[in-house]
């Protein structure tokens, strides 16, 4: 039992950055943009969040910085694809390369300047990154440990997923942005400000990805700056959007499942199966491929990619 709880908790922790990435990408794709720059936006967010935390020792400011940096990354993408109608795939790939490069460069720059061999977050912020105990709930046996014994990011992620679900499926603004993603010409003819809505939602998604990045640099790396800290999670998130069928609530499940795969190697007793660690490292990526194949076979009108996702909209096109 204890073994299972530990495994579950580890899976949740490993899945949280994915959850942010998936949510951000869902909002991007729902607004009609296949943004392959999730990895880049997460990297920028990772760097900005870490550096703000490093300088100010304040978690809230660090989160805001990560969110803002993710938004800025998305802004570049939005300007290029929405306003200048650049190819979405190429722009997204470029954003990824740019984001990783920029955050590595900036991280190295700050480390060199500080004169230390490594950058470590100050103790104040590290404390606030620890487990947040919720009175009463955390004390429930087993359940308390399973569900109410995490760092602030995990709760934030769950809340964000629920809010995204409400936003997309229960509000007028959500209806509007879904219309834009499905058929921008219809949305335009209905009098919606297509360009503005795309900008807003691309940047919102970018900001959420940025938070996911901050998780990578601040929690996964234990508060020490490491280059390439996002390490492919952004790519898995893009693929998992399909697994989650563009549904923020299912994103929680998708993130949990893949979190579990990525920590599997620590929880399979060596006495049972003896295979190299690198095989386990491969599992999440391998599963991603499987998921992409399986989900592409299934055909449902509602639970599929928004119809105009990946296609830029130009009103006067003839």
């Amino acid at each position: 039992m204890n073994f299972f709880t530990n495994f579950f908790v580890a899976a949740v922790l490993a899945g949280t950055p994915l959850l942010f990435g998936i949510l951000g990408e869902i909002i991007n794709e729902k607004s009609g943009h296949l943004n392959l720059g999730v990895e880049g936006m997460m990297s920028i967010g990772a760097c900005a969040g870490f550096m703000m935390g490093y300088k100010t020792d304040n978690l809230l400011l660090a989160l805001i910085a990560a969110f803002a940096a993710g938004m800025l990354g998305a802004l570049i993408y939005a300007v290029l694809t929405v306003t200048f109608m650049a190819d979405q795939n190429v722009t997204g790939l470029t954003l990824t390369i740019f984001g990783i490069g920029l955050s590595n460069f900036f991280g190295d720059f700050v480390r060199e300047k500080s004169g230390a061999t490594s950058l470590k977050l100050p103790s104040g912020i590290l404390d606030s990154l620890g487990k947040v105990e919720i009175p009463l709930l955390s004390d429930i046996p087993v359940l308390g440990k399973l569900f109410f014994n995490y760092n602030i990011f995990v709760y934030l992620g769950i809340v964000a997923a629920i809010l995204c679900g409400i936003y997309l499926h229960r509000t007028k603004a959500g209806l509007n942005i879904r219309a834009v993603g499905e058929n921008p010409a219809a949305a335009d003819a209905a009098g919606l400000p297509v360009t503005r809505l795309k900008y807003i939602n691309l940047m919102l998604g970018g900001g959420i990805c940025g938070i996911g990045g901050a998780y990578c640099s601040m929690i996964i790396c234990n508060g020490v700056w490491i280059s390439n800290c996002v390490n492919g999670l952004g790519w898995i998130a893009v693929a998992l959007v399909i697994f989650a069928t563009w549904n923020p609530n299912k994103a929680i499940f998708a993130a949990l499942v893949f979190g579990a795969f990525s920590v599997l190697k620590y929880y399979v007793p060596k006495s049972v199966i003896r295979i190299p660690d690198s095989i386990f490292d491969m599992v999440p990526f391998f599963m991603t491929i499987l998921v992409l194949i399986i989900t592409s076979i299934r055909s449902s009108k509602e639970n599929s990619q928004p119809q105009s996702c990946g296609v830029n909209y130009f009103r006067e096109e003839r």
Binding site: L175, A179, A190, K301, E316
Partner: protein, 523 residues
Amino acid sequence: MRYQNRKKREVTQLALDKVENAIELRGITKTFGSVVANDHIDLDVRRGEILALLGENGSGKTTLMNMISGIYHPDEGSIHVNGREVVINSPMDAKKLGIGMIHQHFKLVDVFSAMDNVVIGAEGKRIKPRELKEKILELTKKFGLEVDPEKKIYNMSVSEKQTVEILKVLYRNADILILDEPTAVLTPQETQKLFAILRRMKEQGSAIIIITHKLNEVMEISDRVTILRKGKSIDTVNTAETNEKQLTELMVGRPVTLEIDRPKCENVHTRLKVVDLSVKKADGTMALKDLSFEIKAGEILGVAGIAGSGQKELCEAIAGLVPVETGAVLHNKENIIGKTPKQINNLGISLGFVPEDRLGMGLVASMGMVDNMLLKSYDKAKGIFVDRKPAKKLAEELVERLEIMTPNVETPVRLLSGGNVQKVLLGREIESEPSVLITAYPVRGLDINSSYTIYDLLNEQKKKGVAVMFIGEDLDVLLEISDRIMVLCHGEVTGIVDAAVTTKEELGLMMTGSKREGVKADG
């Protein structure tokens, strides 16, 4: 408030001597690159009238209307709405002025329900689904529309989708309605239903513009007609004081005969025999169900049906492009099902295929005429190098014989006009001397002149003893050119009739499956 305004307007409408113009266009000019789409066009639409905007394809009708609805912005000229000069920069502006447009290609979100589509972009707070549904049902009752508010668009027929578009406009209290070729995809019965709705809206004081090139509909529904030709407004006439012949002359610019030839052919015999053909769509539903019919040498078999009734799959199944579930296509007792286009060709059976999507499936848009000719004959040459000379000669011959307007034979075909593209494609297929010629919507988007050239070419083939299949959408044309007409409904044959004795209404009933003729009921 708006509603009261409308009431007031209705009262003023009754005083016939005081007619208010809902829209006035003055000197509207719009150019795309070097092409002048609209050249100083003036246009008036009054409240409580239906104005038909008549013109051939490419005469600038849709461009003009797109400027009223905010899709384009005019280069020159002014737009007045309700007597006030306005600037319309976006569809949002048009919406605020009470202008609603129903585009030829519907602007609906497929995965949304009818109600969600109606409410996108509507002003005010989000209203509860239940209230919204009631509001919509109230509107449908008032205007006599039939639509289920909760039905998803992708489950709807074309006519239902159009109803949703109308509902969208009504929901916003728009009182200036523009319809771009609304009847192109409707059965005669559905057209009548639409016209009834339009008349009711007219009675309520709306101003309605209907774009069309069908003369009989102009005569039936409109109060006045404005004719455009090559981007210029030629004339505006009262419908009651004109006739179809005069309108055609105004539209084309010279007298034309409107009759399509139907030459009688000797020695008509079965060329292709289709037996119990069933085809599945990609999503697993049946596109064609147990189709059985014959295509005869020396006749034109017309195929009528609502868009998406299986026409595309039928063409592609015969051409050997899609796998079939069951059935056979016999060409002189040889089953060609299961064979690739090349294998069919190797059997000595020459199939000519003019697909619906000319620049997607028929021709390679970015290649010139010569290279497109080569696509049909590439495997005849020996060796690894391509001999372009025969293809070039063929291309030049076609240009001369079919009067194809192109700068030269190497110009990418996508730069040619629709009529010329079709001539290139049909010309190439005819040159291969087919024994069976399948044409899908061969005159769609073509002006009257080009259309008649195509009809002549098809008749010529028929006289040569080719078996021609003509999939069409304009029932008037089908009735005139075909010898027999096969009607498809949801992938089933609902009738095979003699074109000389059947009527449009009968075809319409068969298209919706409410009548069967010449076929066994339920197989």
